[in-house]
């Protein structure tokens, strides 16, 4: 009896496999926010919608910029870029792709109410030269326009006009739009049906302009928030692919002969950042801030046994780093990747030299639901600092509770992760995190760790159009931050995908974006 059941189950499974061979069931950890790529500045949402919509340029599987809807480009002057558009591209509804679509899309995404306008900060205006040529003017010399355009997806003007969706949707004003629930792009897949939080179906676009390097007919996108349920669905064959395989379940997944785990490290670098204002927030040292002494910061650095953190907290899967950006990010420098060695006695001596032989207490703000195994590595590091004679008070809470405290500077030490997305350039970290707070820069400079030398370099790099020169400036700025131990780098966090043997191959880049148009099924 038992055997009969098993046989029946196997037979049913095999049959299913044969009939739906080219349907890829993608179990994700999250639902996307909307079908409107301009409605929410969220990297994951954009990466899913990239199957439907495309930008003028795109990243290849190894994160190089290549032409997409634009065939070529040149700079007419330091502030004007001319794009030659691809001929014969059609939207999913059959409309031809022209310069008007580009102009309308750029206007929509940079509209004052657009939640995504930060993704195209330098945009000033655009103008049509002919049907397939567009000129984009930027505010000043700006080297990163192409990087930004990889994530600015192009809408069909006619479709936007017909559906009264020229303006972006806006939750603040209570504006919702047609584009929230409907889509019309140029990409390799089109939206066939959508039921939020349960299933969105993407069908192959037979008229795609590019030569397909995939053989998928249908993608079923199935958000499964609970990690154990997602793993169960993978093991039982209900999904073919997940872009979030929980680290603690990797051994179980690898043990199955039908599942393959793809594991690498993300672009996101994780480090500790300090409160460098005049006083600590919560400490037994009242009159000054010990963290402003570079010897104290070095002591904290040396007291971390990174191999132990990697082995225990990160399950051996993270990549230890001494640099603030990952190797794939322009601005990375191998020589900066050297870490200070773990040296407990040296740390104690440095603390004594700085005048704290008995250590001091401070608060450590970590989140329970943000970085990979953040709780575990924060606890490990807190224990290590205690061994060096310090008294860290670890505060652990969900991101929604910790973020307001972090933004206000209400912390002494925080765990911090930065992926440099969607720009994929060290400038993102430099201008948003390292630069002193002023005007557009230093939004995430929560602990006031700015340095005038770094600021000067960042500002210069922001207008330098010569790429090698610009990268040298960024390296220089990162070198200063390293010499001052402004941050304690830890690791690039691990990421893991899992797929069943129904999938033959896929491309996994460190930006953690699934590119199913580069995926072959069996």
């Amino acid at each position: 009896m038992k055997k009969a059941w098993l046989l029946a189950a196997v037979a049913a499974f095999a049959l299913n496999g044969a009939v739906e061979a080219k349907t890829l069931k993608w179990g994700s950890a999250r639902e996307i926010a909307s079908l409107d790529p301009y409605s929410y500045g969220d990297t994951f949402t954009l990466s899913v919608l990239n199957h439907v919509y495309e930008g003028l340029v795109r990243y290849t599987g190894d994160l190089k910029i290549e032409p997409a809807l634009a065939e070529s480009w040149e700079t007419v002057s330091p502030t004007v870029w001319r794009f030659k558009l691809r001929q014969g591209v059609k939207f999913h509804n059959g409309n031809p792709f022209t310069a008007d679509d580009v102009i309308t899309s750029l206007e929509r995404v940079t509209h004052a109410d657009s939640p995504l306008k930060g993704n195209l900060p330098a945009y000033k205006s655009s103008k049509k030269i002919d049907d397939l040529t567009v000129e984009i003017e930027v505010n000043g010399p700006y080297p990163l326009l192409l990087n930004d355009l990889t994530n600015i997806f192009i809408f069909d003007k006619e479709w936007l006009v017909a559906n009264n969706s020229l303006l972006p949707t806006d939750s603040g004003k209570g504006v919702k739009g047609y584009a929230t629930d409907n889509a019309n792009g140029t990409g390799p897949f089109k939206v066939e049906s959508r039921r939020a939080d349960s299933k969105t179906v993407y069908a192959k676009n037979p008229n795609w302009w590019d030569k397909p390097q995939h053989n998928i007919d249908v993608i079923e996108f199935l958000p499964i928030a609970s990690a154990s349920t997602r793993v169960a669905a993978m093991l039982s064959g209900e999904i073919d692919f997940t872009n979030v395989a929980p680290l603690q379940d990797l051994p179980r997944l690898t043990a199955s002969t039908e599942v393959k785990v793809l594991q690498t490290n993300e672009l996101r670098s994780v480090f500790f950042a300090f409160n460098l204002t005049d006083k600590l927030v919560e400490s037994d040292v009242k009159d000054k801030n010990p963290l402003r002494d570079v010897r104290v910061r070095e002591a904290l650095y040396r007291a971390i046994d990174i191999d132990a953190v990697q082995k225990r907290a990160m399950r051996g899967l993270s990549r230890n780093t001494g640099a603030l950006v990952a190797p794939a990010i322009p601005g990375y420098e191998p020589s900066q990747d050297e870490r200070l060695p773990f040296d407990l006695n040296g740390a104690k001596k440095l603390l004594a030299d700085a005048g704290y032989p008995n250590g001091f207490s401070f608060t450590m703000n970590c989140q329970s639901d943000s970085l990979v195994n953040e709780e575990e590595f924060c606890q490990a590091v807190a224990a290590m600092w205690s061994r060096a004679g310090l008294k860290p008070n670890l505060s652990l809470a969900p991101r929604s509770q910790q973020t307001p405290k972090r933004v206000k500077g209400d912390f002494d030490v925080i765990s911090f992760g930065w992926a440099n997305e969607p720009m994929i350039d060290a400038y993102s970290l430099l201008v948003q995190v390292l630069r002193s707070k002023s005007g557009t820069g230093g939004v995430f400079n929560w602990g006031n760790w700015g340095d005038p030398r770094i600021d000067a370099l960042v500002d210069k790099a922001g207008v330098e159009l010569d790429t090698p020169k610009r990268i040298e400036m960024m390296k220089e700025a990162l070198k200063i931050a390293k010499a001052e131990h402004l941050f304690i780098p830890l690791h690039q966090q691990p990421m893991a995908w899992a797929m069943r043997n129904t999938i033959a191959s896929t491309v996994q880049a460190s930006d953690n974006k699934p590119r199913l148009w580069l995926t072959m099924m069996k």
């Binding site: 499974f13 500045g41 930060g118 949707t169 154990s228 969900p398 005007g439 557009t440 939004v443 995430f444």
Partner: protein, 330 residues
């Protein structure tokens, strides 16, 4: 009676206002949606601007007044996360939760009542004792553990039932139902059992206690004395007298089931209101969180008021009590 009705409705409205206030107060302090809505590249000016647009810069009283005013008209605003009307979002998710609750309620009665009768009649048998013991386990086993166990056994190992989702659904107007498709019915089984287990034990224990009580009364003894077969005595006479409290409790528990479905829905990725709420919490989507709490409380308050009114209709003494001022009148 009109005075009583009026009083009950005023009470209900008062409770709802208190809930709205609490919902609003709590969720104002959960965190900052702005940080979660913008990406790494957004500038400070954009952050400030978004805060103003969301109305987060206004005073608490003003925000609350606007909120209540809109809520009364069924307008809970627009979700921060996906820019849709919150009311529509909840209305879309309600059928999924409701069908799950319906299945759980049906299971709890269909299984709980026979078990309760059995354990009452054969209270000294080994099986009855075993059932009593298992029911303690059923009450104390958390439903997420049970759900994961079910998934492991029936989805991963046996591959009989789906581990997640609702299967194929059929759209009837604005109502989506999983009852009409095979995959929809299959998908209901595991979450339905998970959600109903606590209810089953509750119903079983309630029926058992009531049955034991009734079996001791005179009219059962007379029935036996008249020589009626024990089957008729147990089911026609005794059980019928126990059902009133069972129905009442079941009715009141529907509110609880809707609220507790949250855990089951998370485990089984059931696209209901609970899932919506859990997602809203991770994104600090204040309008959705507040609306969910208010809708669930509204269901609770309505059910309670309905039960109160029915009782008052059945038993006039309660009405008089209520009118003359309650506790010391009796």
């Amino acid at each position: 009676m009109p005075a009583f009705l009026f009083k009950r409705f005023i009470n209900a409205a008062g409770v709802m206002l208190a809930v709205a206030f609490l919902a609003f107060l709590t969720f104002r302090f959960v965190g900052d949606p702005v940080e979660l809505m913008l990406n790494e590249q957004a500038s400070q000016a954009q952050r400030d601007e978004l805060r103003v647009r969301l109305g987060l810069d206004k005073g608490f009283v003003l925000q609350f007044a606007t909120f209540v005013g809109n809520a009364v008209r069924g307008d809970f605003g627009i979700s921060y996360r996906n820019q849709q009307e919150v009311f529509t979002l909840i209305a879309e998710r309600f059928p999924a939760t409701f069908e799950l609750v319906l299945v759980a309620t049906f299971l709890s009665l269909a299984v709980g009542i026979p078990l309760g009768v059995y354990t009452a009649i054969k209270r000294d048998s080994l099986l009855a004792k075993a059932l009593q013991f298992i029911s303690v386990l059923g009450v104390s086993l958390p439903s997420f553990a049970l759900g994961i166990l079910f998934i492991l056994v029936f989805s991963v190992n046996l591959q009989w039932l789906p581990a997640f989702g609702r299967g194929e659904v059929v759209q009837l107007g604005w109502w989506s139902t999983g009852f009409l498709t095979a995959s929809g019915r299959k998908a209901l089984i595991l979450p339905g059992i998970t959600l109903s287990l606590f209810q089953i034990t509750l119903v079983m224990r309630l029926v058992r206690a009531e049955m034991l009580e009734t079996m001791r009364t005179d009219f059962i003894r007379f029935a036996r004395a008249r020589g009626l077969p024990s089957r008729a005595v147990h089911f026609r006479h005794a059980l019928r007298n126990c059902l009133m409290p069972v129905i009442t409790v079941t009715g009141l528990q529907i509110g609880n089931l809707i609220a507790f479905a949250l855990v089951t829905e998370t485990v089984f990725q059931w696209p209901g209101m609970g899932m919506l709420f859990v997602q809203a919490v991770t994104f600090v989507d204040i309008p959705v969180m507040a609306a969910y709490l208010i809708v669930v409380s509204f269901i609770f308050v309505s059910l309670n008021t309905l039960v109160d009114l029915t009782y008052a209709w059945v038993d006039p003494r309660l009405r008089d009590d209520a009118l003359s001022g309650g506790a010391n009148a009796r």
